[in-house]
Amino acid sequence: MKKFMSKYFQITVLTSLLLLIFVLGGVFSRYMTSQIEVHANDNAIKEFNQSLINLVGSGELIEEFDVVGIDKEYDIPGLEGEKYQPELIGAYKVYDSESKVIAVVYIISTIGRDEGLEIAYAIDIESKVIIDTMVVDSSETPDYFQALNFGFYNQLKNKTLDEVLFNLDAVTGATLSCLAVETGMQYARELFARDFDFTIPDIVYTINSVIRNFDKTTMADKPFIVNITYGSDNQELEAYFDNDLNYLETISGTEPNQLYKDVFKDALPTQASIDLRAKVIDYDSTTRTLSVLTRAYHRDNIIIEVTFDETFTSITSLTIISKETYDSDYNDLYTGAPSPVIENAYKDQYLADGSYLDTFAGATVTSNGIIRLLTLIDEVMSAWNGGN
């Protein structure tokens, strides 16, 4: 070793230096390169936080605070009877220059046309209003989502959390997305009520029963009779409601104020025990012809006009008026066949023995609509002929 070093000391030192630079310099270079991603992420977070401060409109600092969501389910837009739990993605407190909390931002994920619509709701702590909102992420179909214009989002600005109904007017053609935004807004209020000193205003009421009006002379104009108990003093009310669930006329009790009427209209579709989607629209007592209507697949209506015999025990004629079309991808049975194949099938079966066919695959909404109407016709007939 001594001999080696005495002979090759200089070159050993030089090459060792070179090696040391290679190793240490390489480590430093790698560190520099790895820091690029770190800085990009840090900057993305900084920019996001700044965007939330900008959303609030004032404020110096923002800080994430550790909260969890609450258990509350909402209807899935477009899927009747199915519910889901919105997801709290993040919650932030915004501070002013004196380190006082001035606003809170909740980022909530809801379901519209698709899952994963994430919206930030900024709420002012003191005035308890929604300051503004911002779409953080969205998988909504762009054509529909872009219909949510400035006018729609403007409803949310300065919206007070003290509103009883606390909902939004939807935009035509983007109803599902609008419902998602509304659900997120309502969920944000629930969170705010839990995290800060706030009580959600509530209206006390109970819908006791919803029945159809089978009076031949008034059924078309006043189709539903609703029995409600409302108010802190439990007032009893029985009233007529129209096909759009607007309050029409008091049968007994005290007529409520408009706020209650709006609440009842909002609540009836989910709390009524009968299917309110099947509606009586006309009855001609001369010809004994009843017209009933329901919403169908393409948002047009299916109307059935049925004529009864004198005893209301059988049907002398039945006509289905429909603009439904069917997707041949779903069922070869009606590939290329002109409508109203489904309608005629149901009509023929019903007229033959009074029964309903099963729903057709690929035309479920149309099938269910027709079944709904035939069921209503049976109920009317039964009411008029004493139970048959």
Binding site: L14, L18, I21, G25, Y31, M32, Q35, I36, H39
Partner: protein, 393 residues
């Protein structure tokens, strides 16, 4: 009959007996480089730390990178001396040779030319090419044909630029956040779009003054024309370089760029100004076109060298698809340095008499032809004014 003395550059005006030698040149060179080095450290390190986009360790990296360039090229040369000279292998012998050999300069220039995020092993490879292949194999200092730093830079550019870009490229942590840059340097925008628009080429980078100061994306040492000019003035003052070489080179690039702008319909002076402030023109003018070994020694040779360098820089920028033509044109002209020296020496002695006049005509004619070709090819004159010439070219 005139007699010529021959030898290898540099030929010093200062006598060795006064204790001044190549070390004096190296010292002055380092002093001239210091504004450039300090600015590059400030722009890519200190300022980015102040912006809050890097930490303290990262702030030191530009300085570390430049120091590594110097150390690596010195080490490479030292190892070469050791391996090739068996008689003089002591540390003192090696140090003596290194002190006369400008060992650190190619490494420093390399580090200033390469992007900030160049891995150290790439710098090592470039230093090896520059020092061993570009200089030592030719016989060491004074015998090389090509500018060593440029050779190393060119080889890395051809072979390892993908590696450099994947490691992070030349945008520092503050510059990557500027949306206006859109990930491109000023010349990168020109090369990709070929549009002479102030709003595209200058405005995103803060204006012409900002280009002059050097606060725009680019290699470590090439961006600050102000710092380079300070170094250049110092070198002229110390008589290390001749003032007219950088002036003629920059002036040629300026005039040709202005003519191209005119032909393309852009008469503003902003475009030629932008052309000289970007792409390393100033850096090459002061520190590379004046390099004593690989550029002509007589004054007329220097003049023609600077003229041809200017026209080739513009030609490669506009007619070729290179984002900058400085390095390529300089390497190319290094091949003709001896020819420049030879023919301009004859011109100086023979004046217009044969064959001096002939050589002068050839050199001048060649320059003019190249200049016209560059302007026509790059501008729109070709298709509108001179259809015959356009068909020929």
């Amino acid at each position: 009959m005139a007699r010529f003395a021959g030898g290898k550059a540099p030929f010093l005006r200062i006598s060795d007996t006064k204790g001044h030698n190549t070390q004096a040149i190296m010292k002055d060179f380092m002093i001239a480089m210091s504004p450039v080095i300090l600015f590059s450290w400030y722009k890519n390190g200190i300022k980015v730390l102040i912006d809050g986009n890097i930490n303290f360790i990262e702030m030191l990296y530009p300085l570390f990178f430049i120091a590594m360039g110097a150390i690596l090229s010195t080490l490479m040369e030292g190892i070469f001396f050791y391996v090739t000279d068996k008689e003089h292998r002591s540390f003192q012998d090696i140090l003596d040779k290194l002190s006369r050999s400008y060992a650190a300069i190619p490494g420093i220039i390399l580090a200033l030319l390469l992007p900030l995020y160049t891995p150290i092993w790439v710098l090592m490879f470039a230093a090896f090419v520059a020092t061993i292949i570009g200089k030592m194999i030719f016989g060491g200092f004074g015998h090389n044909i090509f500018n060593p730093a440029l050779l190393g830079y060119a080889i890395v550019g051809f072979t390892l630029m993908g590696v450099v870009n994947r490691a992070g490229g030349l945008f520092n942590a503050s510059e990557v956040l500027v949306d206006a840059y859109a990930g491109a340097t000023p010349l990168g925008v020109l090369a990709s779009g070929k549009q002479l628009s102030f709003d595209l080429l200058v405005k995103p980078y803060g204006g012409l003054f900002n280009l002059f100061i050097g606060s725009y994306p680019g290699a470590l040492g090439e961006t600050s024309s102000l710092a380079i000019m300070i170094g250049g003035v110092y070198l002229v003052y110390k008589k290390i370089i001749k003032w007219y070489t950088p002036v003629i080179y920059v002036g040629t690039v300026f005039v040709l760029s202005w003519l191209i702008g005119l032909v393309s319909g852009e008469a503003g002076l902003w475009f030629p100004t932008y052309s000289i402030l970007t792409g390393g023109v100033m850096f090459a003018a002061v520190f590379m076109a004046t390099e004593p070994v690989t550029t002509p020694t007589n004054s007329l040779g220097k003049v023609f060298f600077a003229l041809f360098l200017g026209v080739l820089t513009v030609l490669f920028r506009f007619v070729g698809n290179l984002p900058e033509g400085v390095g390529t044109s300089l390497i190319f002209l290094n091949i003709f340095t001896i020819a420049f020296d030879k023919y301009t020496a004859v011109i100086r002695t023979k004046k217009l008499a044969k064959p001096g006049g002939l050589y002068l005509a050839i050199l001048t004619g060649l320059f003019i032809l190249l200049a016209i070709y560059t302007v026509i090819k790059a501008g729109n004159m070709y298709s509108l004014v001179m259809p015959i010439l356009g068909w020929v070219i």
